[in-house]
């Protein structure tokens, strides 16, 4: 459970830092009448959707941290047999990186009021995300064709389950991206579009980061790192 406890500690630090800005030591019973006297203690000025996405990312990180916690506890059992990593995952990773780059392109274009750049960015980002998902399905097929079924070893089970969870999150992102594309289609103005694009970009980068961590874990590249952490903890 160290991954999730670590994540909770990070959340606690963030929340603690934010609360420390909110004058929690104030004596509200003595502050009758004061309004706007203390800047920064009122409602947040960040757009609600962006704040909502931030909270959602915390929930999603909690979910993946728990998957990783379960993974690291289960892999200590004797029946664990690591599965070979399909070479296709390299290609998929490259495509997902491209997808993030394209989305970043869209974001930068939106900042510069360049509608063509936005359209190019979100189309390329969406298309490469779909290619990534298809690639993931192909990797599943390669594995099952080679006899690595979901139930034959816990390592396989985790591989299928975590990649599925990541893929489903990306699918959800594609729905949001689809709605943004529809906005462009209907001829929305740039100021209305900018926030939607920004939210998609944040989500894309988040999923890329999750994928890199998950990939490192599933392929065993992070084993040494985990080992060092474990020794430090014990």
């Amino acid at each position: 459970m160290s991954a999730i406890v670590l994540f909770m500690a990070v959340i606690a630090v963030i929340v603690g830092w934010w609360l420390s800005q909110q004058r929690l030591t104030a004596k509200p019973w003595l502050e009758e009448g004061s309004i706007d006297d203390f800047p920064g203690t009122g409602a947040m000025t960040v757009p609600a959707a962006k704040l909502g996405l931030g909270v959602f990312l915390a929930v999603a990180t909690s979910l993946f941290a728990l998957f990783i916690s379960a993974y690291s506890m289960r892999m200590d059992m004797v029946d664990w047999r690591a599965l070979p990593v399909p070479a296709l995952l390299w290609f998929n990773t490259g495509v997902l990186v491209l997808s993030s780059v394209a989305m970043q392109w869209a974001y930068v274009s939106a900042q510069r009021n360049n509608m063509d750049g936005v359209i190019f960015g979100i189309c390329a980002g969406g298309a490469s995300a779909i290619i990534f998902l298809i690639g993931q399905l192909l990797a599943w097929r390669q594995l099952s064709a080679a006899g690595y079924f979901v139930a034959s070893n816990p390592a396989n089970s985790f591989f299928y389950m975590i990649t599925a969870a990541h893929g489903l999150h990306l699918t959800g992102g594609l729905v949001a991206l689809g709605r943004t594309t529809a906005k462009v289609w209907r001829g929305a103005e740039m100021p209305q579009l900018r926030l939607s694009v920004e939210l998609c970009v944040i989500y894309w980068h988040f999923l890329l980061l999750v994928w890199l961590v998950v990939l490192g874990l599933l392929t065993g590249w992070t084993d040494d790192f985990v080992d060092i952490c474990r020794r430090l903890l014990s």
Partner: protein, 591 residues
């Protein structure tokens, strides 16, 4: 001290919100059924939770009938008994209490108390309710599928949860896990709303330290739930994989009915870790909103400001943080390393400190207050007593050496019913008596309310207090029939029969309450806008019940904290949060 006119803030222009941002329903369906108004969603959540809660109440009757009079009721066999305890526990903890506190009270009170027009994502909020309803329907459907609901116990421990010896192995467990997954998805949608609304939609002047404690409780509980429910989600998904796809996440190598099963190597303890990483914060997810609400009830009905407001806020935050590092105190008998037991016993005792601070502060708020023994106040007092009782037995169970012999006995059942069954329900009922006038514009009948309180409070005590004694004798929980054993004295049977009779009476008293809800809706005394003369914003709405958008043309502006009761020198014994100051006492001007 000199009183000087304080005009600088009198002319503060109220905050305005562009009307286009608010969703306006266009038909009867979008106004009352597929509504995006938080108040309607709150009522939908509350009614659904109450309906499924009544099912759980009937299940508890059936269990008590079996325990009180074993062998008398041929329609309750051992399998059904296990199914009843499982469904009763799961419904009460998750589908009733969590949904009611966060989905019901959260939706109704957050926008009103922080001075917002609605939740920030009304559409997602609506979806949240409908996914919750779907989860409830899936859960209820297990009563009608072949094999019936699962009888794995509300903790759903593997491997027994998915083995054929446990009732509901066919469909029950699959639907239960699916329903939990749906619930969590639905809750996450709602939870995002509650958190972002508190952060982002507070009206002008409503700093965090001016929030009523109700909002603090619900806000913190929501953050905890958002972070803790994924653990149950992961556990449910993994168990569904084990059950449906034959994976071995949790399932060790097993022989069942002489047959070697296909499972092997899995870790049941892993499930326990995941389950309790959710399960313990869940206790506080239910308790923190109750703490917050009861603070407001006590302050309002004792006409006194809450004692130690800052400390109350800090305690809520501290409990929220600490509750994530106590989970393994539910697992002392799972064979974990004794050092872990020591660690978790220590954190468990530490969390008692902020909790005790809250109890002291409630009592000190009552001290020399102008206590009005209204029905909400009676329930608030009932809460303090039951919570202290349940909290003290929690100290017993938090210690490893005391817990080990008491594990899986009726003592545990008595403890958690006192602390997170009866105590939060007391707050729920008190809160309904308190806010019903705002929701409907009519008062609940006082006589029926007092009858309801005394029967519920005394009855609940008569049921659960003797249960501790049974637990100390060693009477195990989850047994269909305890049968004959040396430690089962005749008094055990007598007490069991007594508790069962009281449980039936307490259950029937709830029917009086339901009748009161319906009767008062049509015939109750009109309440006016602020019958309790309370300070918080929800009582200052221009209309009662609050109209669409909550406030009139302009949002309220907040000039003070939520607890200005019996302020010396004030005309009335309460000053609403949105009342501008006309004079201000400047300390030190004269000194």
């Amino acid at each position: 001290m000199v009183d000087v006119p304080y005009e600088a803030t009198v002319d503060v222009p109220p905050a305005e919100v562009a009307e286009v941002e608010l969703y306006h329903p266009k038909s009867w369906w979008t106004q009352y059924v597929f509504s995006q108004d938080a108040k309607v969603i709150a009522i939908q959540y509350s009614l659904t939770a109450t309906a499924i809660g009544l099912v759980a109440l009937v299940l508890s009757w059936l269990m008590r009938l079996q325990l009180g009079f074993p062998g008398t009721f041929s329609f309750i066999d051992a399998s059904q008994y296990l199914q009843f305890i499982t469904m009763h526990g799961m419904i009460m903890v998750i589908y009733l209490l969590t949904a009611l506190f966060l989905g019901g009270f959260g939706n109704y009170l957050i926008p009103l108390m922080v001075g917002a027009r609605d939740m920030v994502f009304p559409y997602v909020n609506m979806l949240s309710y409908w996914v919750y309803l779907l989860a409830v329907i899936v859960l209820a459907s297990t009563f009608f599928v072949p094999g019936g609901p699962t009888g794995a116990g509300w903790t759903l421990y593997p491997p027994q949860a998915i083995l054929s010896g446990t009732p509901g192995q066919d469909w029950g467990i699959i639907l239960m896990l699916s329903s939990l997954i749906l619930f969590i998805i639905g809750f996450t949608m709602g939870g995002l709303n509650y958190v972002v609304t508190v952060l982002q939609a507070r009206t002008r002047g409503m700093t965090l330290m001016r929030l009523p404690l109700t909002v603090w409780g619900i806000f913190t509980a929501t953050i905890m739930a958002l972070l803790a429910f994924p653990a149950l989600f992961v556990a449910s998904v993994m168990m569904l994989f084990d059950r449906l796809l034959g994976t071995s996440f949790f399932m060790p190598a097993l022989v069942e009915m002489g047959q070697q099963m296909k499972y092997g190597g899995g870790s049941p303890i892993l499930f326990q870790h995941l389950f309790w990483f959710f399960g313990h914060p869940e206790v506080y997810i239910v308790a923190l909103p109750a703490f917050g609400i009861v603070s407001d009830l006590i302050s309002t009905h004792a006409r006194k400001n809450i004692f130690g407001y800052r400390m109350m806020v800090w305690a809520i935050v501290a409990i929220g943080a600490l509750s994530f590092i106590v989970w393994a105190h539910h697992m002392y008998v799972s064979g974990m390393h004794p050092h872990f037991g020591f660690f978790f016993a220590t954190t468990t005792l530490i969390i008692a400190i902020p909790t005790a601070i809250k109890v002291y502060n409630w009592v000190l708020t009552l001290w020399r207050g102008d206590i009005h023994l209204t029905v909400p106040m009676l329930f608030a007092l009932g809460f303090i007593i039951t919570f202290v009782n349940g909290g003290l037995t929690g100290l017993f169970l938090g210690n490893v050496v005391v817990d080990v012999p008491l594990s899986d006995t009726m003592f545990v059942v008595a403890h958690f019913h006192m602390v997170m069954g009866v105590a939060p329900i007391m707050v729920v009922l008190g809160a309904i008596y308190h806010w019903y006038p705002k929701v409907t514009g009519r008062m609940l009948d006082d006589w029926m309310g007092k009858f309801h309180f005394w029967v519920t409070f005394l009855g609940a005590y008569l049921i659960f207090f003797p249960m501790h004694y049974l637990g100390l004798l060693g009477v195990p929980r989850r047994y269909h029939d305890i049968g004959e054993a040396a430690f089962i004295t005749p008094s055990v049977h007598t007490l069991n029969a007594f508790m069962s009779v009281v449980a039936l009476i307490v259950g029937l008293a709830q029917m009086v309450f339901l009748f009161n809800l319906v009767w008062s809706y049509f015939k109750g005394r009109p309440s006016g806008g602020n019958p309790w003369r309370a300070t918080t914003l929800e009582w200052q709405t221009p209309e009662t019940p609050p109209g669409h958008g909550n406030w009139g043309k302009e949002l309220p502006v907040v000039y003070r904290w939520a607890y200005d009761y019996s302020v010396p020198g004030a005309k009335e014994d309460f000053i609403p949060q949105n009342q501008p100051p006309t004079t201000r006492a400047i300390q030190g001007a004269a000194t």
